[in-house]
Amino acid sequence: MEKVVDARGLACPQPVLMTKEALEEVEEGIITVLVDNVASRENVKRFAQRMGCTVEVLEKDGVFELRVVKGYTCVLPHVQEASEKAKDGPVILITSDKIGDEEELGRLLMKGFISTLREATLRPSKLLFMNTGVFLTVEGSPVIGALQGLEGMGVEIYSCGTCLDYFGLKDKLAVGQITNMYDTVENLTGASLVVRV
């Protein structure tokens, strides 16, 4: 059985209260909640997850459709897909342009590390560069070639946008893409293995 809760045009905490009521009325089933602002979307999602439900969010023309699944133990197809994707190679998080504290040695080690990555048995799925790590993905980096090679092999390369901004390097990016904190968090938390260098 499927219910629809239309909470469009309503302010917090009304959509949450309506979702609460609807969830209390069913043993198990899917409830679709319609909201039209980000705060309500986040609040209904929090509430439903807190109640142990699975939530899927779709957006169409400024309206968010939250499909709240109560009681079923089966996994929604896209959730399964995501968890399988996470079984890909590890995500590597690089937060410095060197490995360890000693300047010169550290830079050599980092160069060696990135150049050797292509030979890893379990090839990384993503490289995330943050803080001074972004010096490795911009013009003048000693590992641009190696990184472009990895990209060619299907490894996704992301540099933190805030960090590029901070160092004034945004137009100097030479490999991969710019990413934000949301995607970084998704990438890290969705990974089955994160290696921090």
Partner: protein, 307 residues
């Protein structure tokens, strides 16, 4: 306001420029006037308590500048066809009680008929021109204090939804109704460098105003943040005011998380009604200051760091 041409004047010690809490006008060498107004929609069900909270909230701007209130006027929007006049009487009684507590005088007010209830005060305060406390004086090395617990906006949302427990509602209510007077007096005795009151933009928003105005970065220790007990229960249930998300959206790019804030993150952005003072004290005079130390001021360029 940015598009408007606001006149400047040598007597105006604090104006709009730094997003401070009130305007300050120098009358003479030893007297300046503080002018502020604030009015709000109800955050609790009890009208008397709401009156106290709205008044404490309005008076707080004077205390944040380091001054003392002299006179106040009621500002009232009241739906006469929806609510009994008795409700208004209780609100005004609550407000008057707070004004009296400060030693200031209630000298009048103005009311209009409106669809939604709103109440607050316009307040005039006094201060010595040399002792005005703004949000612009924080220096690296200062310690930061917060004088009321966070989570007041979330509790207000839970109250609105009828889901707040009486104990939590009471704790939040009494925090909101309490004056920032004592904190203001204590900080002045200790040579405060900067102060602001934490209201609608949350700890991050008002903290960033201080950081930017002072040309520093604020470093906040998550574990030291005072929060209303039980508030995380409500935030996990999605009882979070929309403005918390708006604040998060506006300020997130100025916040650096050195550690994962987890479920505490939203509290940093939670809009506070009648929130506490955020105070930067020189570290050598901060010993024994009777409110929680939540972090420190470091060198930087107007950012908010969470450690």
């Amino acid at each position: 306001m940015r598009s408007l041409d606001i006149p400047q004047d040598p007597h105006l010690l604090v104006g709009l420029a730094t997003g401070d809490d009130a305007g300050v006008y120098k009358i003479s060498e030893d007297l300046a006037l503080i002018q502020t107004i604030d009015f709000i929609t109800p955050v609790v069900d009890d009208p008397f308590l709401f009156g106290q909270i709205a008044a404490a909230n309005a008076l707080s701007d004077v205390y944040a500048m380091g001054g003392e209130p002299l006179m106040a006027m009621n500002v009232v929007c009241f739906p006469t066809c929806k609510l009994e006049m008795e409700v208004l009487e209780k609100i005004l009684a609550g407000g008057l009680g707070k004004v009296k507590e400060t030693g200031a005088l209630l000298v009048g007010g103005h009311s209009v008929d409106d669809l939604e209830l709103k109440y607050g005060l316009a307040v005039t305060g006094a201060i010595h021109p040399q002792e005005v406390v703004t949000n612009a004086g924080a220096r690296p090395g200062d310690l930061l204090f917060l004088t009321k617990p966070l989570g007041l906006g979330i509790v207000a949302t839970a109250i609105k939804g009828g889901l707040a427990s009486p104990a939590v509602a009471e704790e939040a209510g009494s925090a909101m109704a309490s004056l920032n007077r004592e904190a203001s007096r204590q900080m002045r005795k200790r040579g405060v460098h900067a102060c602001t009151d934490v209201t609608g933009f949350g700890l991050v928003g008002h903290g960033l105003e201080m950081a930017k105005a002072s040309g520093v970065t604020l470093e906040i220790e998550l574990e030291r943040l005072p929060i209303i007990e039980g508030v995380l229960e409500y935030s996990s249930m999605g009882l979070i005011p929309a403005m918390a998300y708006e604040n998060q959206e506006s300020f997130r790019s100025y916040v650096d998380y050195v550690r994962d804030p987890g479920e505490l993150e939203i509290l940093l952005y939670d809009p506070q009604t009648s929130g506490g003072l955020l105070i930067a004290l020189p570290s050598d005079k901060a010993q024994g200051f009777p409110w929680p130390c939540i972090g420190r001021v470091v060198k930087g360029d107007g950012r908010f760091r969470v450690v």
